[in-house]
């Protein structure tokens, strides 16, 4: 009899131990994500893209800036190097290897996406925390400024900011794209900070005499970050597209030896009638990468949002 109860006790104890000891919100979300095909698909694209960007210097067969097929370009007859032995995608308008340019181009695109998101995230974090934590007139001033920025369509705003710089380069593109994202992050964070400010656990923390700073950074901010983190994965996709658009409009890096997908697309537009394939490749790359980040972001949002859990 006693051996049996001992066995049961041992089992119960084991169950209690294996049963999610110390599972945080993030870990619980990860469990759901692991089985979500949409997330896995998006994540696969993103991982492949990042790997490509990191490894492209070794993957690319040639220097993307060298006009190695220049002798095959005949301007008068609108002729460019066709796909051939050693150059599976052929060359561009000035005879540079298209495959190498696409591969190396991923570096710039990744940098734009990540940096623009980071800058936008940081700016939004500062403004949103200020507005949400302090409230009152700080909140009013910050939020009206945000409203003004949000009232201008995002891409138009990015183009305007980009056009302010007399000498555009890669960093001005990143800055212009990031500035557009700041008000979105700020507004999102401020909203969830406000909800946190009136929550029971913040009241409980106040009832314990916890200092204001600790309440903001330990109790309010971590609980407000969920939607902002999700937004940042979506912003990554948007930044890549926006940066491509700026490059396309000629507000990007003027040095065309360093390839960038958006700039390549812009260049290809000049020859879209005769050589549409020059546009297909960078366009397809942008679309796939943006899709990857968007799918990942959407499934993250679902996993973290308790209301959409099935």
């Amino acid at each position: 009899m006693s051996t049996r109860t001992d066995k049961i006790d041992a089992l119960a104890e084991q169950a209690a131990r294996t049963d999610s000891a110390g599972v945080s919100v993030a870990a619980a979300a990860w469990r759901r994500l692991r089985r979500n095909p949409v997330f896995l698909f998006g994540a696969a694209i993103v991982v492949a893209f990042v790997a490509l960007a990191l490894l492209s210097p070794w993957l690319a067969p040639y220097d993307p800036g060298e006009r190695m097929l220049g002798d095959q370009v005949i301007r008068a007859r609108d002729q460019i190097p066709p796909p051939q032995e050693g150059h599976p995608l052929g060359g561009d308008q000035v005879g540079r290897d298209l495959l190498s340019r696409i591969l190396i181009g991923s570096q710039q695109t990744l940098m734009v996406g990540v940096l623009a998101t980071l800058i936008g995230f940081t700016g939004g974090l500062v403004l949103g925390t200020l507005a949400g934590a302090l409230g009152g007139w700080v909140d009013t001033v910050v939020m009206r400024a945000v409203d003004v920025m949000l009232s201008i369509p995002g891409l138009l705003l990015a183009v305007s900011i980009g056009a302010l710089f007399s000498q555009p380069n890669q960093f001005t593109v990143i800055l212009a794209v990031a500035m557009v994202q700041v008000p979105i992050f700020a507004r999102l964070l401020r909203g969830s900070m406000l909800a946190q400010r009136h929550s029971d656990h913040v009241l409980a923390a106040r009832a314990l005499g916890v200092r204001q700073r600790a309440i903001v950074f330990r109790h309010m901010l971590p609980n407000s970050l969920g939607p902002v983190i999700v937004q940042s994965t979506l912003v990554l996709a948007i930044s890549i597209i926006d940066a491509a658009a700026l490059s396309f409009l000629g507000l990007g890096n003027p040095d065309d030896r360093i390839p960038e997908w958006g700039a390549m697309l812009g260049e290809a537009q000049k020859a879209i009638d005769s050589h549409p394939h020059l546009a297909y490749w960078p366009a397809a790359c942008i679309i796939v990468v943006a899709l990857g980040f968007t799918l990942m972001g959407e499934s993250l949002r679902e996993a973290l949002d308790p209301k959409s859990r099935r």
Binding site: D200, H201, G209, R218
Partner: protein, 336 residues
């Protein structure tokens, strides 16, 4: 001098373009160390607002708090934010109603207990978490070391409330306010939590203000009971006196509306007529008059004062023109 002396405490909510709303209207009571004082009443009678005002947790804007709340001789209502913050958690503890939403969901239990100890005792994180484990053990959480690293959603309701009590008692406050601490729990757990509170209070000689709408909780725990209606105390008596001879028609109604196991089958429940929505201010007449079965003409004309009960013995204050007569024999026996 009592540990906490609340005198004529009033809280008025003022919103732009709206009539000011008086949530608490001249509430006075004392709490001695080791004593448990109950604030009882239905939703919206000002129980929680009273406790929030004492703790200084009400918003600054649009709220007017007047009167006095002296803690150990110090006036709490005029203290600066910083002074008040240093006392909260240290000298004044509070246990809230909903244990799940009162805990931060993204921080481990251990950190939440340790946070208070770090804040008020100035201990290091390591020392604080050793104390946190002891505290969890003291409030009856099994395997406290493991629980320290767990998150609120992994604990059961009773366990969460125990953790909240541990947090509130971490710095051994001299006054503990429990705002409906058992409302969100099921009955068996309620009994455990109440027993735990009673034990801890007795052990440490803590003064306890018990806010509840549950007369069962009052009967089990409180030494003295204040019955609130419409922001005012309408009857105050020791627990035994109050339950044996309820004098105010509201108290009487509350007790009469409790379903009884020994009532005949099929007997209807006897609720108090109307609802607090008919609430009228105490400016002219008694706020309970529209719902009161004993109401007489004086009730709607003259606001009753808080006075010693002229009929029944014992320490009792009453705010009524026409109290319920002590009726049956048991009640007659304790009449003088």
């Amino acid at each position: 001098m009592a540990l906490l002396e609340v005198r004529d405490l009033s809280v008025v909510f003022k919103r732009k373009g709206e009539e000011p709303f008086t949530a608490v209207d001249g509430v006075s009571f004392d709490v001695e160390p080791g004593q448990t004082v109950g604030l009882v009443g239905e939703s919206g009678c000002g129980k929680s607002v009273t406790s929030m005002a004492i703790m200084g947790l009400l918003a600054k804007r649009g709220v007017k708090v007047s009167g006095s709340a002296k803690f150990d001789g110090t006036e709490l209502l005029t203290l600066s934010d910083k002074q008040m913050r240093d006392r909260r958690g240290q000298e004044l503890g509070m246990v809230f109603q909903d244990p799940l939403s009162s805990l931060n969901p993204v921080i481990s239990i251990g950190l939440q207990v340790a946070e208070v100890i770090e804040r008020h005792r100035g201990l290091s994180r390591k020392e604080a978490s050793v104390q946190a484990a002891e505290l969890l053990d003291k409030v009856g959480i099994p395997d406290p070391k493991r629980r320290l690293s767990e998150y609120p959603h992994q604990l059961s309701g009773g366990m969460r409330q125990r953790a909240l009590i541990a947090i509130a008692l971490a710095c051994r406050p001299r006054l503990l306010i429990a705002d409906e601490p058992t409302t969100a729990l099921d009955v068996t757990i309620q009994a455990q939590i109440l027993a735990l509170l009673a034990e801890l209070v007795k052990e440490t000689d803590t003064a306890l203000i018990m806010i509840t709408h549950d007369l069962g909780v009052v009967a089990g725990l409180c030494d003295e009971v204040n019955v609130l209606y419409g922001g005012r105390v309408v009857e105050r008596a020791g627990r035994h006196d109050l339950f044996r001879v309820p004098r105010h028609p509201y108290t009487h109604g509350l007790l009469a509306s409790i379903p009884r196991l020994d009532a005949p089958r099929g007997e209807r429940l006897s609720p108090i007529r109307g609802s607090v929505a008919d609430n009228i201010p105490w400016t002219q007449g008694c706020a309970f008059a529209p719902r009161c079965p004993n109401a007489i003409d004086t009730c709607v004309e003259v606001t009753p004062a808080m006075e010693p009960d002229p009929v029944v013995a014992g320490e009792r204050l009453l705010r009524c023109h026409n109290p319920v007569e002590p009726a049956d024999r048991v009640e007659q026996e304790i009449l003088t």
